[in-house]
């Protein structure tokens, strides 16, 4: 009995000694998760980035009403950039959008199964029927005189192929883009360092849902997690310029964003030229509207160096040099 007690006492002492040695080392270890206040980071570690990416993709799938390629549908060389992100960056490609990743049915089970899942390209808020004319009507362009769907209301939702009940009386559903927000929020929670999430969420919040305050708040949250990030600063500057019409503050933030771009991106082997173009374009528009033509010309000159549309930009510069009113100049994208 005495031998057992002594053995237990010895083991306790060894454990205590080890703990006193290991604990300070563990506290200062770079890989320790205890340094983080974020519960998700402690629980999931780096795997949270994978989840964050999944949730971001989920938001994109929601934007397409569930019509989304799986890993089995992707072909080699496919661009895996989310459409919601492309829209936010102003590079949404309609041709790519119209592409049907499913292709023709490979067999009868494939053909049959397409009735049981989302198998047609669509976006949130689209007229569910898929008629081009109804889409135009939704945009306020109306149906043609001879159009067979001219009695359809704009933005109506009804079943395809006439096999199910039509629902023409339902009013146009606006703000359905809200449905992507939970996944973007969750993605940001999982990986606060994923800048794209803040920029994309802020874009949809302010442009489609009119939630400018929430967009700004979310971007500031992103800035706290990613101090001095030029992309978030650009999005914030755009809010002050386009939504709040606070020109002075917008100018300051956009100029700061350009400065940060030079610090962060210019050194990279493949810098984000598109972002620089967007910042310069926004600044040039702002200065042009403020009739500060020399500054606008300066920004356009810099933009010309990075833009593929050099002739177009040169013509805007020439227009400004001849002091044309700002309204006479088309907005460059």
């Amino acid at each position: 009995m005495r031998a057992y007690l002594l053995s237990v006492f010895l083991l306790v002492m060894v454990a205590f000694s080890l703990a006193t040695t290991l604990e300070p080392w563990f506290q200062s270890w770079a890989g320790s998760r205890t340094q983080s206040d974020n519960v998700l980071q402690v629980a999931l570690g780096d795997s949270r980035r994978m989840f964050a990416r999944h949730f971001f993709t989920k938001a994109d799938a929601y934007f397409h009403k569930g019509f989304y390629p799986t890993i089995y549908d992707r072909k080699e060389g496919d661009d895996d950039k989310a459409h919601i992100a492309e829209s936010a960056h102003g590079e949404h490609d309609e041709e790519e959008c119209a592409e049907d990743f499913l292709g023709k049915p490979k067999d009868w089970i494939d053909r049959f199964s397409r009735n049981f899942f989302a198998s047609r390209h669509a976006h949130l808020g689209d007229a569910d029927c898929g008629h081009d004319c109804c889409e135009k009507a939704k945009e306020g362009k109306g149906h043609d005189e001879n159009c067979e769907h001219k009695h359809h209301e704009a933005g109506h939702h009804h079943a395809d192929d006439g096999d199910a009940d039509d629902d023409h009386d339902q009013p146009a559903k606006t703000g359905l883009e809200r449905e992507i927000l939970p996944w973007l929020r969750l993605s940001a929670e999982m990986d606060p360092q994923r800048v794209e999430t803040y920029v994309v969420a802020a874009f949809w919040l302010r442009t489609k849902l009119g939630k400018v305050d929430e967009a700004e708040q979310f971007l500031r949250e992103g800035l706290r997690a990613n101090p001095g990030d030029c992309e978030i600063q650009f999005a914030l500057g755009s809010i002050y310029y386009e939504d709040r019409k606070d020109i002075a503050r917008a100018r300051n933030i956009l100029e700061l964003s350009m400065m940060r771009w030079r610090e962060q991106e210019a050194r990279k082997p493949e810098p984000n030229i598109l972002l620089l173009g967007q910042i310069l374009n926004q600044l040039a528009k702002l200065e042009r509207e403020e009739k500060n033509y020399p500054r606008a010309i300066q920004h356009y000159t810099l933009l010309k160096q990075v833009s593929p549309n050099k002739e177009g930009i040169q013509s805007w510069i020439d227009d400004l040099k001849t002091n044309l009113p700002p309204g006479a100049v088309t907005s460059p994208r």
Binding site: Y62, G66, I109, F116, A118, D128, A164
Partner: protein, 283 residues
Amino acid sequence: MNPTTNSLGTVRLPEIAAEADRSGTLNNVFAIAGVVIKEMYRRKDFYVLFVLTALITLLMGSVTFFNQENIVRYLKEICLFLIWGASLVITITTAARQIPAEREQRTLFPLLAKPVTRNQLVIGKFLGCWLASGISLLLFYLFFGAVAGAKEHEWPVLNYFQAAVLHWFMLGIVCALTMLGSVVFDAPSSTNTIMLIVSVGILLIGRHLNKVALKLEEPAQTIVYAIYFALPHLELFDVRDLIVHNWALIPWHIWAAGLAYAVVYSAIFLALACLAFRRKAIN
């Protein structure tokens, strides 16, 4: 006409005897099915899973994102995911334990001496499990409809009806497959595990096996394609995306064809289960 003698020794015409046999068969099958249904509502499995589903759904529904009202699709997706998970667990665990439990508790011999034939026993157990899963599914979908309707202010009843019935018929295939498994494998735990893996596996990759096959060299391509055609495509019945994203109704003739597909596979697995059980030594 040849007279026939029943167990009580009375003389009857063959047509009457056949009808009496049929009604006796149905009585036996429904009696066994009734016991299975009673067993389901005596056990705690369903209640636990239902409360868990309701709690998680309501908790997720109470969250607001960016002060935006009426965000509902994520909630529908989570709720349907939980319903699918819970229904699979309920169906597989219920079906897997039926025959082994009768054998373990030694109630199988008196049951078969009633007289209840082995086929009647298997069919009765299947029917009971399928109906029990249908009852639980009905409650789950009522809850789902209430939650979605409260948030969305819409009641696409026909869409929910199509989804629930497809789901129920899919559970019929799973139930029949599990009955077959419970006859082949001795322990319910191994049947549960194997059937869960098989069902989830089919749901996840069943739709894509043909694409995988086309990327393979021969003879692997033919083998994988043969598996693709032979598999019961459970994923056909998973119309959650259509419900979550408010797609239009499935054309009714396609929907009916889907149900017929489920009936065929259920019948095949049930026939195999009956065959295996008839050949199995029960002592």
